[in-house]
């Protein structure tokens, strides 16, 4: 997987996000580094409280960063930037939220919810053009123009999430941050929403950052995966590599915990619990290192040697 010829759309460098509660300091994100290439789906996976949403929100400037840089198309977008730049980010980077019920204004019609971004940025010549845009956006997510006059509560969860997607898509963004877009939905509806997101990706060359905790969905949906644990990115790899050669013990325990829809497998499964305190953490401080092209793991030199030996053994098995 050579990434040299791919265009970097978003780059996160040495990102630190710290929250303060009175005098207490909490480092929610610790020295995060990753690039997202144009046209790919990049997944950020971890358990709740790991800082995955915090990173997503920092990118769209909802959370302040305390150190490091976020670059969008080579331009710095965190910290102090001009008003015009901020507006352009708000327009080009859209977010799809987890809870479709909470992210829509209950007292506004769908027509308003979807065109809110258009109003803010005056992205229409006249009323007829705005209406045409809203109709097109609704149609593209499988809703009808007559739904426009209704209110969010009149829709089912899956339909509301489609409205959330329509609302993001109408801005014609280049980059979408999808924060657990399907975890609040029913199983039978999940596939519909995932297919819809994939359709937009191929039709419009969109780039996604997909924040999730469900690895089975991530395996199907994303091109590359970053695993985050307690604010620290512990492994980054292309999807198939991560599932084949998970190196970090935390990645391993995450993968292993995914319930499989197969009773014979599940009933014979043994549980691996990741316990940091039981690991050998001797040696110098670990950093994120590239062990194979495109495959990064958080390790120090001693652990790198162990991982290298493991990898070579696995690769030998494969051949």
């Amino acid at each position: 997987m050579a990434n040299d010829n791919k265009e970097v759309l978003l780059s996160v460098k040495n990102l630190e996000i710290t929250f303060y509660n009175n005098k207490k300091r909490f480092r929610a994100v610790k020295n995060a580094n990753f690039d997202i290439y144009k046209g790919e789906t990049f997944a950020l996976v971890g358990e709740s409280g790991s800082g995955k949403t915090t990173i997503g929100r920092a990118i769209i400037r909802l959370n302040p960063t305390s150190d490091g840089e976020i670059l969008f198309k080579g331009k710095k977008i965190n910290g102090k930037i001009s008003h015009e730049e901020e507006r352009s980010i708000v327009r080009n980077i859209q977010m799809i939220f987890q809870d479709p019920a909470a992210s829509l204004n209950e007292r506004a019609t769908i027509d308003y919810c979807v065109s809110e971004g258009l109003y803010n940025f005056h992205l229409y010549k006249d009323e007829a053009e705005r209406e045409a845009k809203v109709d097109k956006a609704l149609e593209s997510v499988g809703l009808l123009p007559e739904h426009k006059s209704r209110y969010p509560h009149e829709f089912s969860g899956g339909q509301r999430q489609r409205i959330g997607i329509a609302r993001a898509m109408i801005m014609e963004p280049e980059f979408i941050i999808a924060d657990e877009p399907i975890s609040a939905l029913d199983v039978s509806i999940r596939a519909q929403v995932l297919n819809l997101m994939n359709k937009f990706k191929t039709e419009r060359g969109l780039t996604y950052m997909f924040i999730a905790h469900d690895l089975s969905v991530v395996r199907y949906f994303s091109d590359r995966i970053a695993v985050i644990h307690k604010g620290r990115i512990v492994e980054i790899a292309p999807t198939d590599i991560l599932f084949k050669y998970p190196l970090h013990p935390y990645t391993h325990s995450l993968l292993q915990a995914v319930p499989m829809p197969d009773p014979r497998i599940e009933k014979s499964k043994e549980l691996v619990i990741y316990d940091e305190s039981k690991r050998d953490l001797s040696g110098e401080k670990p950093i994120l290192q590239e062990i194979r092209p495109g495959h990064f793991v958080f390790a120090n030199d001693r652990e790198m040697k162990e991982y290298e030996a493991k990898l070579q053994e696995w690769e030998k098995e494969e051949n």
Binding site: E47, F221, T251, L255, A257, P259, P261, E266
Partner: protein
């Protein structure tokens, strides 16, 4: 089926809700027997009636809901003859306990964890405060809380989501119930914690010997925990069988759809199978097979007449006209044929991601 020990038996249950002057039929003629000591998983999407169904066992329906028909037999008594809360108290929490989805809302935020567990022990087992405390601490360490003695006086907000769910389980177990209903116990939790809670419930079931009823929409969890599975759709059980029947030999088109749409089976780059449309409104009377409008396999009769429960084997039943001898022979969709082999091929070893 006769020689099995049935602990709870539901017959022809109908539950209706009154919502803004309209009547919603949440449960439409459901009959089901629960075998003692077995784990039964009830699967279905939200609104299919799986929670409402189990709430009737403990008389916990919301005030606008009513059982209009049917019987629920437990320990030789028909629970549907109960009128007052007093009668229910003997069952609810004591013999049939429930663990709910959200551990934050099922605990009292202004009471200590210890108080909430010992309260139940004192009330149901008539023990003194000291005895109750001792037993509560024992229960806490049993459900995996370290330093139980110190954490006894802490408040729910000081616990993580997984820990809180452990406490809720401890409270449910405090009166040694015969049946434990777990209503989406792990939906709000992370996968790694989910795996631990599932294992805990399994171990406790063996130790305390209770029957478990699991409500979930996650088929991965079902595969792990269940002995028997009931699939619910639009207020009815549309397929019932052993866990192997349901995963390896499903018969109802809805069960096919659920299994086919699993992302675990999705191949990258190709579209994921999606069940089209949405479930029917339960305000209106449903004619024929409720799933017919969304099914790729519906027959003309599906829109006319409700299918009966067909018997596939001694353990396996499905409510679809496809099993009628006159129906055309249809194979289950390609995606879910040879499910076991497919999953083995998708994973690195032994059907588990990243295992070697």
């Amino acid at each position: 089926m006769e020689n099995k020990n049935i602990i709870l038996s539901v017959k022809d249950l109908v539950v209706k809700f009154k919502v803004r002057d309209r009547v919603l039929t949440a449960i439409r003629n459901v009959s089901l027997d629960f075998e003692e000591g077995k784990v039964v998983a009830i699967v279905g999407e939200s609104g299919s009636g799986k929670s409402v169904f189990t709430k009737t066992f403990t008389g916990m329906l919301e005030v606008n809901g009513k059982v209009t028909n049917g019987e629920i037999w437990f320990e030789g008594e028909n629970l549907m003859t109960y009128k007052t809360d007093k009668e229910w108290l003997n069952i609810r929490g004591k013999k049939i306990a429930t663990v709910f989805q959200d551990p934050m809302t099922s605990l009292n935020p202004v009471r200590t964890i210890g108080y909430q567990i010992s309260e139940v022990i004192m009330k149901h087992q008539n023990k003194s405060k000291e005895e109750a405390k001792k037993e509560a601490i024992e229960l806490m360490s049993r459900v995996g809380i370290y330093n139980a003695e110190q954490r006894y006086d802490e408040y729910p907000f000081m616990y993580s989501g997984g820990m809180r769910q452990r406490i809720v389980i401890a409270i449910a177990l405090a009166c040694h119930p015969k049946i434990l209903v777990c209503d989406e116990p792990t939906t709000a939790l992370d996968v790694t914690i989910q795996a631990q809670i599932i294992r805990l419930i399994k171990e406790l079931a063996e130790e305390y010997g209770f029957t478990t009823i699991y409500i979930t929409h996650d088929l991965g969890v079902v595969a792990n925990v269940a002995d028997n599975v009931a699939v619910m759709y639009a207020g009815q059980i549309i397929e019932y069988g052993t866990v192997e029947d349901i995963f390896y030999d499903p018969r109802h088109p809805y069960t096919w759809g659920l299994l086919s749409s699993l992302p675990q089976l999705g191949e990258k780059g190709s579209e994921l199978f999606a069940i089209r449309g949405t479930p029917p409104s339960l305000f209106e009377e449903i004619k024929g097979d409720a799933f017919a409008p969304r099914s790729d396999y519906s027959l003309a009769i599906d829109f006319e007449e409700e299918p009966p429960m067909f018997k596939v084997s001694d353990t396996h039943f499905a409510k679809t006209w496809l099993l009628d001898p006159r129906a055309p022979k249809v194979d289950k969709p390609k995606q879910i044929q040879n499910l076991h082999e497919k999953i083995l091929a998708l994973t690195s070893k032994g059907g588990i991601y990243g295992e070697r």
